[in-house]
Amino acid sequence: MLEFQNITKIYESKNKQVVGVDNVSIKINRGDIFGIVGYSGAGKSSLLRCVNLLERPTSGKVLVDDIDLTQLSSSALRKARLKIGMIFQHFYLISQKTVGENIAFALRAADTPKKDIDGRVKELLEMVGLTDKKDVFPGQLSGGQKQRVGIARALANNPSILLCDEATSALDPKTTLSILKLLKKINEKLGITIVLITHEMDVVKEICNRMAIMQDGQVIEEGEVYDIFAQPNKPLTKEFINSVVSFEIPKDILANVKGQVIKLLFKGDVAGEGVISDTIQQFDVKGNFLHGIIEYIQERPLGIFIMELQGEKAVVDEAKKYMEQRGALVEVVQHV
C-alpha cells in the first residue's frame, strides 16, 4: 500500500515561495491503477516524484507498506527504490548502451548475480514484446519501443509499485493504447500497483480504477473512476470529463426546446432505454432525445442521455420521480 500523508512541497526561489503540493493525503491500495489528473503546474508531477523521493517533500510522510521513506538513510532509500519502478514521458534511457545493457543496469543496481542477468533480461524483453531488440541502441527505436524498454527496466527488480510520469504523453494515440494495454497486463499479471499522472482523461478512462484530480497543488476530488465519471462534483473535474465525454448541445437547438430538458444517468446494469420507454408509455409526456451515449468505464456501462420532456408540469415531475425510482439519476438542465 502507498500512502501520502499531508505532503507539502514548497519550492524556494530567489524572493518567493511557490507551493507545488499543498497538504495532500491519498491512500493507494495494492493492485490499484491510480490516476492523478491535472493541468501542468497542478503539482501532480511533484507529488509523483515524492514517492521515490526524487523530490523530497517539505513536510509530510510517504508510506510504502507502512515504511516512511522520508526517514530512511540514503542506502536504505536506494534499496527501497529498487522496489519502486518508474517510467518517464521522455523515456530517459542510457543512449550509449544497448537495450539489453539498459535493463541489465537496473539488475546490477540490485546486485543480481551475473549469471542470472542474461536470463532475466530475456524474460523482461519477452514481457514487453521486444525480444529481437536486445542488442539495439535506443536511438534506433521508435517512441513506443523506447517506452517498452523503460517499462522493462522499471520492472527489472520486481517492484511493488510502478510510477508513470506522463508515460504516454509523447506517443501517438495508437502507441499510447498499446502501452496502456501493456501496463494493464502488467498490473493484472504481476499485481503491481500503478500510479500514473496524466493530463489525458482518455488514459484514466482506459486503465485506472481510482483517480484524483489536482488543482493548485491540492487534490480537489478523489474516488473510483467510474463514480467520478458518473458524477463529477468540481468544475475542473467536469471540464476534464467533458474532454472525453462531451454533451454540448448547440444553442439553437436548446432555444427551440419546448419542454423541460433533463439529463439522465444510468449506472451499471440499469437499462436506460427500457426505463425511458416505460416512462413515456406510462405517463402523458412526450420525450425527445437531444443527446446520448453509453460509455464503458472499467467495462461497466455508464449511460448518459439528455432529453426533452414535454407535458403538464405535474406529470413531468411524476415521470422524473418514476425514473429516479427505477435507478436513474435525473438532473434538470433547463426549465421551460
Partner: protein, 222 residues
C-alpha cells in the same frame, strides 16, 4: 625564401624537435586526463541537485581550477620552476616542460569534462537514481558513457591547446618545435625553418582534429 637543400640537412633537427613536442604533449595529456577527468566528474557531481551535492568541495575545487586558468601560461611556466625542479630535477627539456603543461591542462580539461557532463539530460541521471543505482554505477555506466563523445572532443581540444602551450614552453628551454621556430626562425631570420615548423604544426593540429572528430563520431550511438 624556402631553401629546400638546407631543409633536408635540417630534417634530423626538425624530427628531434617534433619528437620532443610529442613527448611533452603526450605526458601532459596523460596526466591531465588521469587527474582532470576525475576532477571534472567531481566538479559535476558535487553541483546543486546532484547526488553528491557539496557546496564546500565544489567551491574549493572550482576556485582552484579558476585560479590556475586565470594565470597566463607564460607566467605559470616560470612560476612553476621550483615545482618542476623538485619533480624532474631540472627546468630544461621536454620532460621538465611537461610539468607546467600538465598543470595548465588539468583545469582546462576538467572544465571541458564538467561541461560535457552538464550536457547529459538530467532526466537520464534521474531515471538511474530512480532505478536504485549507486553513485559509483551512475558515474561509471551513465555519466562517462553518455559524455564519452564530447569528452573525446575535449581531449582533442586539450591536445590542440597543448600544442600552442608547448611552443611557449619551448621558448624558455622546453625544446620541441616551438623552440626550433624561435631559435632559428625568429632569432636567425631563418625562413625555411620558420615555414617548416609552421607547416608541421598546422598539419599536426589538423590531423589531431580530424582523428579526434572521427573517433568521437564513430563511438556515438545516438
Amino acid at each position: 625564401m624556402f631553401d629546400f637543400p638546407y631543409f633536408i640537412t635540417m630534417l634530423p633537427d626538425i624530427w628531434k624537435a617534433f619528437k620532443e613536442t610529442v613527448v611533452m604533449i603526450g605526458i601532459a595529456l596523460l596526466i591531465s586526463i588521469v587527474i582532470g577527468l576525475p576532477l571534472g566528474v567531481l566538479l559535476f557531481v558535487t553541483d546543486k541537485g546532484l547526488f553528491w551535492e557539496n557546496r564546500f568541495v565544489k567551491n574549493i575545487f572550482g576556485f582552484a581550477v579558476n585560479l590556475v586558468r586565470s594565470i597566463p601560461f607564460i607566467i605559470l611556466l616560470v612560476a612553476l620552476f621550483p615545482l618542476t625542479k623538485l619533480l624532474v630535477g631540472t627546468t630544461i627539456g621536454p620532460i621538465a616542460a611537461s610539468v607546467s603543461l600538465s598543470v595548465a591542462a588539468i583545469p582546462y580539461f576538467a572544465r571541458l569534462v564538467e561541461s560535457s557532463l552538464r550536457d547529459i539530460d538530467k532526466g537520464v541521471i534521474e531515471a538511474t537514481i530512480a532505478v536504485g543505482a549507486t553513485p559509483w554505477m551512475i558515474i561509471k555506466d551513465v555519466l562517462l558513457p553518455e559524455a564519452r563523445s564530447t569528452i573525446i572532443r575535449g581531449i582533442t581540444l586539450t591536445v590542440i591547446s597543448l600544442v600552442a602551450y608547448s611552443a611557449m614552453a619551448g621558448t624558455i628551454g622546453g625544446g620541441g618545435i616551438g623552440d626550433l621556430a624561435i631559435r632559428f626562425g625568429y632569432y636567425r631570420y631563418d625562413n625555411t625553418i620558420m615555414i617548416s615548423t609552421v607547416v608541421i604544426l598546422i598539419v599536426f593540429v589538423q590531423l589531431i582534429q580530424l582523428i579526434g572528430e572521427q573517433y568521437a563520431k564513430s563511438i556515438d550511438k545516438r
